[in-house]
Symmetry: C2
């Protein structure tokens, strides 16, 4: 049975009010604040209906109603109005995120920090999944005998590097030869195609004793693989303590314990977005988040792009009664800013893919 217009109106008003006050909302305060042209008794009847239909919950018999997960879901899916960001706030975001040229890491860090600061909730940014991006350069720079900086450059301009150890009697020339061989052998191959075997095959042109080769190959391989490591940037976790839903120490601890294992969050986010053709944004509410300690939270995420198919995520976590519409417009704006920045970086490089 679908919700009739008045029920929708009332549900929306309840969610709106609860988001604002964090207090169960009563029939009387509803008619008072919004001018429905009916009495509180009528609203009460409607609220009772909404409760039996599962959209509302009552903390105890004589309290107002609060939205259930289903109620929030309905609100988010069809009731709320998302308005574009005010020019001032857009400006503030732009200022925070794009005030200087940055590579991807810095960009994500700033995006995350801006999101946390402007939403007042906590934010996440995940580095892109690079499995499908391909190698464009591999350089090995001798730092000292026995120590090299391995620089991996991927399509879409992402650069990763790592310090590695190699046999210290390997000369700079030999190293140069090896890394050139690897590079030309692997250039254009995607990360998921590259295995220790491909690396070894690629290097067969180099005229270096195998004994010397092995460690270098292994380190090159490791560096390439490591370029795909998922990194998480988190910000604004402290904000969570200011919400009444986490005033109680136990729930706060549950949340922070889960957050501290950042692999968990990253893995979850990664998995959730991987399995779905992502729309512009994705919302998970309360119990929909299958992570301990996050059942009183909601999670809004979106996907940014680096090149054609390579994508990462940014997201905001707040209490279930977070200001969905505002956060959605904020996160969308940030996503667009990131995409734009990444495109700009690419365009500057003469549009090389």
């Amino acid at each position: 049975m679908p919700l009739d217009f008045r029920k929708k109106q009332i549900l929306q008003a309840i969610v709106d009010d609860y988001i604002e006050s964090a207090e169960p909302v009563a029939s009387k305060s509803l008619v008072c604040k919004h001018d429905f042209h009916v009495s509180s008794a009528t609203v009460r009847n409607e609220m009772a209906d909404l409760e039996t239909m599962g959209y509302l919950e009552q903390p105890h018999t004589s309290a107002g109603r609060i939205p259930s997960d289903k109620g929030y879901r309905e609100y988010v899916d069809s009731l709320m109005r998302v308005e574009p960001l005010s020019p001032e706030e857009s400006l503030e975001f732009s200022r925070r995120i794009t005030d200087s040229f940055e590579e991807l890491t810095g960009l994500l860090r700033k995006a995350s920090s801006a999101l946390a600061a402007q939403t007042g909730y906590m934010s996440l940014a995940l580095s892109p999944r690079l499995r499908r991006s391909y190698l464009t350069q591999l350089k090995m720079l001798m730092i000292e005998p026995g120590k090299v900086l391995v620089v991996v450059v991927l399509s879409a301009g992402v650069v990763k590097d790592r310090i590695a150890r190699i046999p210290d009697y390997l000369s700079a020339d030999q190293l140069f030869e090896i890394s050139n061989a690897i590079e030309s052998g692997l250039c254009g191959k995607s990360l998921e195609e590259i295995t220790l075997v491909t690396v070894t095959t690629a290097a067969k042109d180099a005229h270096i004793p195998e004994m010397l080769l092995n460690q270098v190959l292994y380190e090159a391989y490791t560096s390439i693989k490591q370029a795909d490591n998922l990194e998480v940037y988190m910000d604004g976790t402290n904000h969570m303590l200011s919400f009444p839903e986490f005033h109680d120490n136990k729930s706060a601890r549950g949340l922070f314990d889960t957050l501290s294992k950042d692999g968990i969050i990253a893995g979850y986010l990664n998995e959730v977005t991987d399995n779905s053709i992502t729309p512009s944004y994705m919302i998970r509410i309360g119990q929909e988040i299958q992570l301990e300690g996050l059942h009183d939270c909601s999670f809004i995420t979106t996907t940014y792009n680096v090149g054609d198919k390579i994508a990462g995520n940014i997201g905001v976590i707040g209490p279930k009664r977070m200001d969905y519409s505002k956060v959605i417009s904020q996160i969308s704006f940030v996503r667009n800013t990131i995409n734009q920045q990444m495109r700009k970086l690419k365009d500057i490089n003469g549009g090389m893919e």
Copy 2:
């Protein structure tokens, strides 16, 4: 008036018990647990004395006593016994920190994470202050036209890099020439000596039109300066929520708000260790920490070395009633492990200074 032997004994016992229980300790439980050969009444008299002398406090009239900051200070300075780490725990630390070769960043990250996990408190690691270290290499690697990876290698083997933009019509050869000129001009100079002027002077040998030069020089300069940026690694903040002193939401929030501004902690730590000839470790108790939200905490820090004069810090923050002696031995062990690792890295490079 100095403390006589029995008073010291009692104070020590009180601090020990309070560290364990977080409850005010009573005269009766004292004589019960430790076998002083006097009655509880006598102990009570001594406790009253200790209170008037400022070593103890009474939350309310009919409660036991808890140590004051002064009491902790006395305990830390002359009462507690620091015992070396158990072999098992030493092993566990070594395993966590040194299980693979790592550059400094990774080492600090691991050290911080191990400290947090093993102490059960929260940990900090600060990257070394590199002002006095000197440049040994500066390489610029062309990633794409207009985009370079600037690699700065400092004495003691520290490597930092950064992506920068340069005019995109600059050729790889020109870039190579410029960076070589800068490198040979600045090699052996300490970071604090290097200014935009020195960089410019260093590059005067390169035969490149000045218009092209400027941006490259500026980016080189920025990269070098940025190598000295203080980085903070924090871990185990979630542990703090499990201590009764932070069960109250307000104090937890105070703490986390301060922690979230990581510049503050870094700055404080930096300042505090800078002004003093650091002994093996340094302890700040309660009000001695001049940071909002940390008045119920204690802060144990120590200094690790990278080369001769270059040093950074690691530290542990816990409630005032933290297990000082254990943390001291833990933190000392980690310090030694870091020093050892750094020395090893150096030795491997043939002892170059």
